[in-house]
Symmetry: C2
Subunit: 291 residues, 2 copies
Amino acid sequence: MKIIVAKSAGFCWGVKRAVNMAIAAAKKNGTVYSLGELIHNPQEIKRLETLGIKKIDSINEIPKNSTVIIRSHGVPPDIIKKLKEKGIFIVDATCPFVKAIQEKAISLEKEGYPVCILGNSSHPEVIGIAGHVKDPVIVENENDIEKLPPFQKLGIVCQTTLNSELLSKFVASLSKEIKEMKLFNTICKATKVRQEETRKLAQQVDMMIVIGGKNSSNTGKLYAISKKLNRNSFHIESAEEIDESWFKNIEKIGITAGASTPQWIIEEVIERIKTILKGGETVERGLCKTT
Amino acid sequence: MKIIVAKSAGFCWGVKRAVNMAIAAAKKNGTVYSLGELIHNPQEIKRLETLGIKKIDSINEIPKNSTVIIRSHGVPPDIIKKLKEKGIFIVDATCPFVKAIQEKAISLEKEGYPVCILGNSSHPEVIGIAGHVKDPVIVENENDIEKLPPFQKLGIVCQTTLNSELLSKFVASLSKEIKEMKLFNTICKATKVRQEETRKLAQQVDMMIVIGGKNSSNTGKLYAISKKLNRNSFHIESAEEIDESWFKNIEKIGITAGASTPQWIIEEVIERIKTILKGGETVERGLCKTT
Ligand code: F3S
Ligand code: F3S
């Protein structure tokens, strides 16, 4: 019997990295403050708290001479400045893909393009990118495009999690009005790869287990993809929900997980399956090229 | 009684310029050879022939030491080179808007972008632009986009007469696959302005006369726009078709014409109307901002 875990299951690369950086810093320096949730999973936030990673909502809550971790979303540069002024030690876990977007925005501005960010204006990643340039415009919907002043040229980047159909729609509208556009499609492939691997894995196994919050939309999407290709698909939130009866005549089990499912929940599921099966080999498998 | 002629009626600015340059050159140097039709109107071609402008299809037909006119569409640089080698005198009537596209293609290539031209690959303008860069790709339809090799980045220009909806569609598709795009919307506003002025004029007059070939699609479009806003609209090919009975209780007459309708046909129409009306004032009026 074989348990195949999709390499893209759970946290994306950038979030895994941020969590690891926070844990390492906490080990070294004691308490580490995170400006906002390091990861959108309340259980994981709690676990991280026991490791010394404390979520706070404002810079003012951070004591002097302490350590702060910048999340994968990144922050506007004035936040960094303020932290430095307060003499706070910074661990910058901004995802390198996000950092690249911030740098692209800066270089577009240097090249003389007004900078436009396609994405959610209240999302910390977008706020972070916007803070790196002088007069960014943020486009959330078609309505925002209609309200734009008449730009002769425009430099465009997008939020890493922007839906690719939306990007196309925005660019289609903008191309009608604007003479010159320089566009970076900065959508991160993590979500796409996770979905693609789920698709592939579901076709190679006798049974699929998709782990993640019942109201996590990205987990729901993974489950729908899996169920379509493998009727033997189950969506669970934790190991307890697993039923022994599922495993009759099962040789190969595939596992994937939503973007906010922590690694230890995945491991608990694997352990539980192994107990039921009385053994079994576990392999992690990347089925797609990642970015 | 007043006859208002839309400023955009008939030839676009670039074609008018080319025709005038050809006539001036013929006056000075005798015969002028045009590589392909200077204007897509057989009657006008004939008239130009009487003025010494001779259409030919290949460079080989041009005698040594003669004069050749480059049409508004432009040509690939190797044509210029061959002409120069043959010692032929060149009058370059490439439309400045087209020249600007050729220059944009060159500069995109210099900046390291593979160059993509959106348009009809067999159209002389597209062939001319394509000749200015090393390895251009030409996209005519969605199918061509699917067949593109995986570009990391792409520099894009388009044919001056590309439909703006098509441009949007192409750019939408390309933005999904390509990480970095630099796009110049090089659609010429001449057609749009001609339509816009027809729309405005039709609402200001008691009667509209739209002049152009019955199978000219752009003239048909102008007529449809006019008819919708002014029931008293007539589509004619020449002055002979005008009927006296049309002019009862008419004070203001609007005139527009398709892109391949020569000026002298427009003037014959005006003369005929003035004869019917026994007088009347003519004004030319630009109702839109032009590019
Ligand atoms: S945080 Fe994650 S979703 Fe992509 S941009 Fe970084 S890997
Ligand atoms: S030839 Fe005419 S259509 Fe525009 S590009 Fe030049 S004015």
